[in-house]
């Protein structure tokens, strides 16, 4: 075993922390409050070439692994940018993976370099209100019409749809009931999000308000076959390989958020004096923070193991899911304790921990709830019978 990070990884961590550190807490308070996309951060990362960290060099990227991508997003989040910062670029970092692996050369040439340079914003159009977590149950349908497809349906929780030029859209081209296997008959597109055919409605939500979450009502959206990713009917399989990386990246973001919250809590504990004595001297305040540090560190180890396994082509479902569970839990707990450490001021937005707390709550639900992680582990690792 050798747990030391490579020199590159250490460099990435430091450089990202420095760049993200230029956007201070007030910046994020304002963006979140005004529901404004963090263009300045996004542009700075685009300019620095960071959006292409996992994109192959042939398309202008760096061709690095999930380990490096997770370090990047962790540090963005840990800078205090939290989920507002991470979500602004999350999709650019690894979301194009199915396109990279299965898309046509023409499609890749047309899109990837623009994603790397930050010009092209893409949103991820998979989840639907009635499908729950079973992606095969989506009903958005793409009907073939000559060289085109015509799409109708509804999507929900589509991050960044407000800002996105294109959407990576999963559809059915064979209905669920007509498909031989339920995983067949799904088709993936990377296409323009034509506002005249797609009604985009923001969802009012508890936090992460700098990046919108949206409901999409798709009405006769016409898509050229050139925008299809890979073969018709194989879309589900193209997305499969991305599930574990997605969980690892979210885990990294949760971890960063927890560290940001902990840093704030420690700072407040040292600065806030009651009767001439910093409150950080109280055991009742110190020990929970110490425990949170230990839990974050422990969760990080699981994440590092998972990304290492993935980058080395080894199975990592167990580790990726466990990492998501541990990081989301430890991140939320750190945020919760940071609020508690601040006493009444923790409830005000001005100390920022309430923002972290609201964001951290999301990570126990998305992209997969903690309970679904347990279901996965029970069925796939422990071999317990399937249950609902």
């Amino acid at each position: 075993m050798d747990f030391a990070p490579t020199e590159d990884q250490q460099t990435i961590r430091n450089a990202v922390a420095e760049l993200a550190g230029k956007f201070d807490d007030e910046y994020w308070l304002e963006k979140d409050e005004k529901h404004e996309f963090p263009w300045e951060l996004y542009d700075a990362f685009a300019k620095g070439g960071w959006l292409g960290i996992t994109t192959p060099e042939a398309y202008g990227g760096h061709g690095m692994g999930i380990t490096e991508a997770s370090i990047l997003l962790e540090e963005v989040s840990a800078s205090g940018a939290g989920m507002n910062g991470a979500s602004s670029m999350h999709m650019s970092i690894f979301g194009m993976h199915p396109v990279i692996v299965h898309g046509s050369e023409e499609l890749k040439q047309r899109t990837l370099p623009r994603i790397v340079n930050g010009e092209l914003h893409v949103c991820f159009g998979v989840t639907e209100p009635e499908a729950g977590l079973d992606t095969t149950r989506i009903t958005t349908f793409a009907r073939r019409d000559g060289d085109d497809y015509v799409v109708n349906g509804r999507k929900v929780w589509i991050s960044k749809a407000q800002e996105a030029e294109k959407i990576l859209l999963l559809t059915r081209t064979t209905k669920f009931e007509d498909a031989e296997k339920k995983t067949d008959g799904l088709t993936l597109f990377l296409t323009d999000l034509d506002r005249s055919k797609v009604d985009i409605r923001p969802i009012r939500k508890m936090g992460r308000n700098a990046v919108s979450s949206n409901e999409l009502f798709i009405d006769d959206l016409r898509i050229s076959a050139e925008d299809r990713v890979g073969e018709e009917g194989k879309g589900f399989f193209y997305l499969l390989d991305g599930l574990n990386p997605e969980r690892m990246l979210i885990a990294a973001e949760a971890l960063g958020l927890g560290r940001a919250a902990l840093r704030r809590a420690v700072r407040y504990g040292n600065e806030r004096e009651v009767f001439g004595r910093p409150i950080g001297k109280n055991q009742g305040l110190q020990f929970p923070l110490a425990e949170s540090l230990a839990r974050l560190d422990a969760a990080e180890l699981m994440l590092r193991k998972a990304t290492w396994l993935y980058d080395n082509g080894k199975p990592c479902g167990r580790e990726a899911n466990t990492a998501k569970y541990l990081c989301a839990d430890a991140g939320f707990e750190a945020a919760d304790r940071a609020v508690q450490t601040h006493g009444g001021m923790g409830y005000s937005e001005e100390y920022h921990v309430s923002r972290y707390f609201r964001e951290a709550r999301l990570l126990r639900i998305a992209p997969i709830s903690q309970e679904m992680v347990l279901n996965y582990l029970g069925s796939h690792v422990l071999g317990l019978p399937r249950s609902y």
Partner: protein
């Protein structure tokens, strides 16, 4: 980076594991638990050379380091084996490295070593209360892990030159060892009293040796718990697949499934922390205190939680004396406090936060 055991380490694990299963089947283990005499097991461990794994060859060891010791500890915990003597030797041996003769007898022979410190606190020379008058020791230390199984006592004592470590033969005049019964009968503690006992001063930096011993103890106890969690998970999953209610195995109930999966999460988390902390302490990483503290403070309470979950999954059958689960349960409970509970270790973690000292 490489987040996997080497082939050699994998082989060590599997060999030791099957040896344990052969050398000490469950029935024998239970009998031993009732009788309370681990001599036969300890002799077998020595006889097969397991006590010298994880130590440099020039001490009489077979090579390897704390990671290998952690792998052994994990398997011992997994098996519920009476490993107190082994554990004490693994913690105390480095302090004896300067006395080649003694250390090789500890590693190769059946003469266990033991650091004479209270077993319920983080190892720390100040807590003992033994005084050195020249090389004659006097004082008492309570709840010393495995003192009743050891030949070679490593004793922190304060004399004219300050804190030093001394070697005392347990058979020397003026040494008295009184065993105490614990809930966990697979490991024992004893109170040790010195009345002018003859000692020889060890040639090492006492403070450094004790700090190192504290971290080794943290890692090895955490590893022991890791093995226990693994085993309890196995027992619980097996039981939940067999046991039926309303005509289906209870493992298909979501509440049972979530309970088992939570244990798996704990096991996986424990595994990554334990190996990491072992490597960190072994390599003298600058953050090794934080890593070892994290292992101890996170893994051993998780072991207790896992034991609770396993008991709940088993229902009352888990409480009966004839079922093995209670062995692991009690072991997990003891590990939680052995060589310092979470509160003590969390204090050390707090000092890694840039917070002011607690008052």
């Amino acid at each position: 980076m490489r987040w996997e055991l080497s082939d050699e380490q994998e082989l060590l694990c599997s060999t030791f594991r099957s040896w344990l299963e052969r050398a000490m089947p469950a029935a024998e283990l239970r009998a031993l638990f009732d009788a309370g005499d681990p001599t036969a097991f300890e002799n077998a461990l020595v006889g097969e050379g397991w006590t010298s794994v994880g130590f440099p060859e020039d001490w009489g060891g077979q090579g390897g380091g704390l990671v290998e010791l952690a792998l052994l500890a994990e398997q011992l915990g997994r098996h519920g084996a009476p490993s107190a003597a082994w554990l004490s030797s693994a913690i105390a041996a480095p302090a004896l490295a300067g006395s080649r003769d003694v250390v090789s007898r500890v590693l190769e022979g059946s003469e266990a070593a033991c650091l004479v410190v209270p077993g319920d606190h983080v190892i720390d020379g100040g807590s003992g209360g033994v005084r050195a008058d020249g090389t004659a020791l006097s004082g008492a230390v309570t709840s010393v892990v495995s003192a009743d199984r050891a030949r070679h006592l490593v004793v922190p004592a304060v004399g004219a030159k300050g804190l030093r470590l001394f070697h005392v033969d347990v058979h020397a005049d003026g040494v008295q060892v009184r065993r105490r019964t614990l809930l966990d009968r697979t490991r024992g503690v004893a109170d040790v009293t010195f009345v002018g006992a003859a000692a020889s001063e060890l040639n090492c930096d006492a403070g450094e040796a004790l700090r190192d011993a504290a971290l080794r103890a943290a890692v090895l106890v955490a590893a022991d718990t890791l093995g226990g969690i693994d085993r309890m998970l196995e027992l619980a999953v097996e039981y939940s697949k067999q046991r039926k209610q309303f005509g289906v195995s209870i493992g298909s109930f979501q509440a049972v499934k979530h309970a088992a999966s939570s244990m798996l999460v704990q096991a996986e988390a424990a595994r990554s922390i334990v190996y990491y902390a072992a490597a960190s302490v072994d390599q003298g990483h600058e953050d090794r205190v934080l890593h070892a503290a994290t292992a101890k403070a996170q893994v051993t309470p998780a072991g207790v939680e896992a034991a609770d979950t396993a008991l709940t999954m088993h229902g009352a059958i888990g409480y009966t004396w004839e079922h093995d689960l209670h062995l692991f349960y009690k072991r997990a409970k003891l590990n939680e406090h052995l060589f310092g509970g979470s509160a003590e270790w969390n204090e050390r973690i707090a000092s890694a936060l840039p917070l002011l000292a607690a008052g």
